[in-house]
């Protein structure tokens, strides 16, 4: 089986890190993995994305035009990548910043782009499975909007079982190992609440 | 009503895409004002270097030639020798001018080429993500000096104005900054002077502008301005290092 996905959002949302964590978890599961970032001048525009592939077989192209899944953390990414997900695929939307007519909490209205989030995600696709999770709000409640990425990743993994829970946890620990305990704790909480969100709504 | 602040003619009507707080935008504007001041837009050729200023070709409304890394002074020489009636300026970063292009700048200066060089010293390589430049301060951390620049392995901050002022070929050399309104005003005057020297066929002029790179310095724009004031000015004092424009005929 080859599972390929694109993770996308603003620079600073930790897009690259969750991609690496996922790839690392896949590696710990003894799968073949690749992680490929958008790099260089592309990043000056403030958006970031990476492609992660987890596979039983040796991986071919590290870049995919039509991924099996996408995790989109903001509206521009939703608009760009939702149409590319293959039929029967999975789309996880951070509904705090994309695709919902929800009120963005005052403290999150820091960029112009956020205004777009009020526009909504109109042409919803029926041929893929869409998961909405208010990751940024959930993260805010945990005490740091920065862990929205971990919430989204954990939810995605709970839904798709792309990697094992154990490996995901180990991968997270290794990625934060050098940093402080409080950070690790809040990230653990984030992973837990992301997972729970899926399991509760199953 | 008389407008007090308008876009110079020498700049296209497009917004700069430099990082917030980057001084490239201010320095572009000062160069454009000088071109407007002398009314030479239609006979000026600018050089877009390799570096963050490569996009000069998107911003200036004069003709622009994009040149290989470090080679602008040689390209300027070619242009000016072929067409002495044109006004030529090169706009180069510290990686471009003071590292890979050291030979070219020294020899253009030494030949006294009648060109104007705008040298933007932001103490690192901006475009490639913040590596050490020859102008990086001692102790300054960059991508390739993770423990800070050390004199024993990387040498000392290269003082371009001081060095070029010793060459007999040069006419006007000044170092400026644009980190506050006072300095910016002075910088504008200096850049005009540098163009005037060329217009009067008096030879080689170079203005070094100390500039911020908040992105790679990992500072806010305000902090970056302070850092220039407190750290860079000590190593790179402002002032006129050479002016023989009055004695040259």
């Amino acid at each position: 089986m080859i599972q390929d996905l694109i993770i996308a959002g603003f620079g600073g949302q930790g897009i690259m890190s969750i991609g690496k964590i996922l790839a690392l978890a896949g590696m710990l599961d003894d799968k073949n993995v690749t992680w490929f970032p958008s790099y260089g001048a592309e990043m000056r525009g403030g958006t970031a994305n990476c492609t992660v592939i987890v596979s039983d077989r040796a991986i071919g192209s590290p870049i995919v035009a039509r991924p099996w899944a996408a995790i989109v953390m903001n509206q521009p990414s939703l608009e760009k990548f939702a149409p590319l997900v293959k039929e029967g695929g999975v789309l996880l939307i951070n509904s705090s910043l994309a695709g919902n007519k929800i009120e963005t909490p005052m403290n999150l209205r820091f960029t112009k782009e956020n205004e777009n989030t009020q526009r909504g995600f109109t042409d919803e696709r029926k041929d893929i499975e869409t998961i909405r999770i208010p990751a940024t709000e959930m993260a805010d409640k945990l005490g740091s909007v920065k862990v929205a990425n971990i919430i989204a990743l954990a939810a995605f993994c709970a839904k798709t079982e792309i990697v094992s829970i154990g490996s995901l946890e180990k991968a997270m620990e290794r990625s934060f190992s050098s940093k402080d305990a409080a950070l690790l704790r809040i990230n653990r909480l984030a992973a837990y609440s992301g997972r729970e969100h899926i399991l509760v709504n199953k | 009503m008389r407008p007090v602040f308008v876009r110079p003619n020498a700049l296209k009507n497009v917004p700069f895409r430099f990082c917030p707080g980057c001084h490239h935008g201010i320095i572009h504007r000062l160069v454009a004002e000088a071109i407007d001041h002398f009314g030479i837009l239609d006979r000026t050729i600018g050089i877009a270097p390799v570096g963050c200023a490569v996009f000069a070709y998107d911003y200036f409304s004069c003709d622009i030639l994009e040149v290989a890394h470090g080679r602008p002074p040689a390209a300027c020489t070619g242009i000016k020798r072929a067409r002495p009636d044109l006004i030529v300026f090169s706009y180069q970063g510290d990686g471009d001018l003071a590292s890979i292009g050291t030979a070219e700048i020294i020899h253009a200066a030494n030949r006294g080429e009648n060109i104007t060089v705008i040298f933007v010293n932001n103490a690192n390589y901006g475009m490639t993500g913040g590596q050490m430049a020859p102008t990086t301060l001692l102790g300054q951390k960059t991508k390739t000096t993770p423990k800070g620049r050390s004199a024993s392995s990387d040498g000392y901050p290269l003082k371009v104005c001081e060095m070029l002022a010793t060459l007999e070929g040069t006419t006007y050399i000044e170092r400026v900054a644009v980190n506050n309104p006072g300095h910016t005003k002075e910088a504008g005057r200096a850049i005009k002077k540098a163009f005037k020297v060329q217009l009067e066929n008096k030879g080689f002029s170079l203005i070094e502008a100390l500039a911020s790179c908040p992105t790679n310095w990992e500072m806010s724009p305000a902090q970056a301005n302070m850092w220039i004031e407190e750290k860079m000015l000590k190593v790179f004092p402002l002032g006129i290092y050479k002016d023989t424009s009055e004695t040259k005929i």
Partner: protein, 355 residues
């Protein structure tokens, strides 16, 4: 992220190649920033001092390659890296290194060209890398990694090959392989040559022996010609001894893709797609670009296999493939220049149009 797990680490290609150099005992690294290889000098700036090596950011690529020239002349294992425009600048030095028969490793993480081009991964420097590149009648070994693991392993091996043949050895990779992460296995059983020749030519100080000279100038009557014949013999030996390629599904295939590096990764996906559709499609991936694995291609051609060469350029390795096939069967081409990259579906369509 550096995570040890059963000797496996998830790394980007540019970092992995540094580890390959460290494993080979590289003593000196000289470089200059350029995207998309900036990770190499950044990594080397802390990594090589850890193992007692020298890191120096040169003032230019010209300087960097000449620093390599100096270090190699005194017998040190030396490396430099850059991307396309910087490699062009190094060509003068590479020509001198080849002329003086100095071993060293030069890494090219290719980007789009010509000129300043762009920073996307590309394969536009194939001609430059496999034809010598600089002036004069010479060749350089050229290895093309196809994975992050190979970025490490081939870089390590490149030092051995360079020493074995006293020849500059190139790693020809691109921005995609440089920036992507994959698991890399750090084996304890490094496959190093143990029969490398003594560097009895190195300039170590004429103490107790006659002075040595390393040079590329041969002004005497017939001197240079003789020397070039010697280089030629060496090249022939290299062409006999080290061509290498990887095969995938070539046993029963009547149609075969030929691709190297990143393009070969896409080609692998094409082979998977073809499998699903029941199409017999093979892949031959040259690992050494000079010497080019002519014989395996020739053998397939003799069996009547037809080929589609795919490259991230407008047809450079194509010419080597055509020379190998020599008109025996068809060689088709599909490529995209300037940092464009094809997707597997796109190529499968092309394949089908020839079946």
């Amino acid at each position: 992220m550096t995570n040890d797990f059963n000797n496996k680490r998830l790394m980007i290609g540019n970092d992995a190649l540094c580890e390959g150099a460290v494993q080979a005992g590289c003593q000196c690294y000289f470089g200059y920033p350029i995207t998309p290889q900036n990770e190499v000098p950044a990594y080397m700036s802390w990594r090589i001092p850890q193992v007692g090596g020298i890191f120096l950011q040169a003032e230019s690529e010209l300087a960097a390659i000449n620093m390599v020239f100096g270090a190699a002349a005194v017998g040190a294992r030396a490396m430099t890296s850059s991307s396309s425009p910087g490699i062009s600048l190094k060509q003068e030095g590479i020509s001198y290194l080849a002329g003086a028969e100095l071993p060293c490793v030069i890494v090219n993480i290719m980007r789009g060209g010509p000129g300043l081009g762009n920073i996307a991964g590309s394969q536009g420097d194939y001609f430059q890398a496999t034809r010598g590149g600089g002036h004069g009648d010479y060749r350089t070994i050229c290895l093309a990694p196809g994975s992050v693991q190979e970025m490490m392993d081939l870089t390590r091996e490149a030092f051995d090959l360079a020493d074995r043949y006293r020849i500059p050895t190139l790693i020809l990779s691109d921005g995609i392989l440089g920036q992507m992460m994959e698991p890399v296995i750090f084996s304890n059983d490094l496959n190093l040559f143990d029969d490398l020749p003594e560097k009895d030519w190195a300039l170590t100080g004429a103490k107790g022996r006659p002075p040595r000279v390393i040079k590329s100038l041969y002004m005497g009557e017939g001197e240079l010609e003789e020397r070039n014949w010697r280089l030629h013999d060496k090249h022939k030996r290299i062409e006999m001894e080290i061509p290498r390629c990887e095969y995938l599904n070539t046993e029963d295939a009547e149609f075969c893709l030929i691709a190297f590096g990143t393009a070969a990764r896409v080609a692998r996906s094409v082979v998977y797609l073809a499998e699903k559709e029941g199409i017999n499609l093979g892949l031959l991936r040259p690992i050494t670009l000079y010497p080019f694995p002519k014989r395996p291609i020739k053998e397939l051609a003799r069996k009547g296999v037809r080929f589609l060469v795919i490259e991230m350029n407008l047809g450079q390795m194509l010419e080597d493939c055509q020379l190998a096939v020599n008109g025996v069967t068809d060689v088709f081409f599909y490529g995209r220049p300037g940092g464009g990259i094809f997707n597997p579906e796109e190529i499968l369509k092309v394949v089908k149009s020839y079946l």
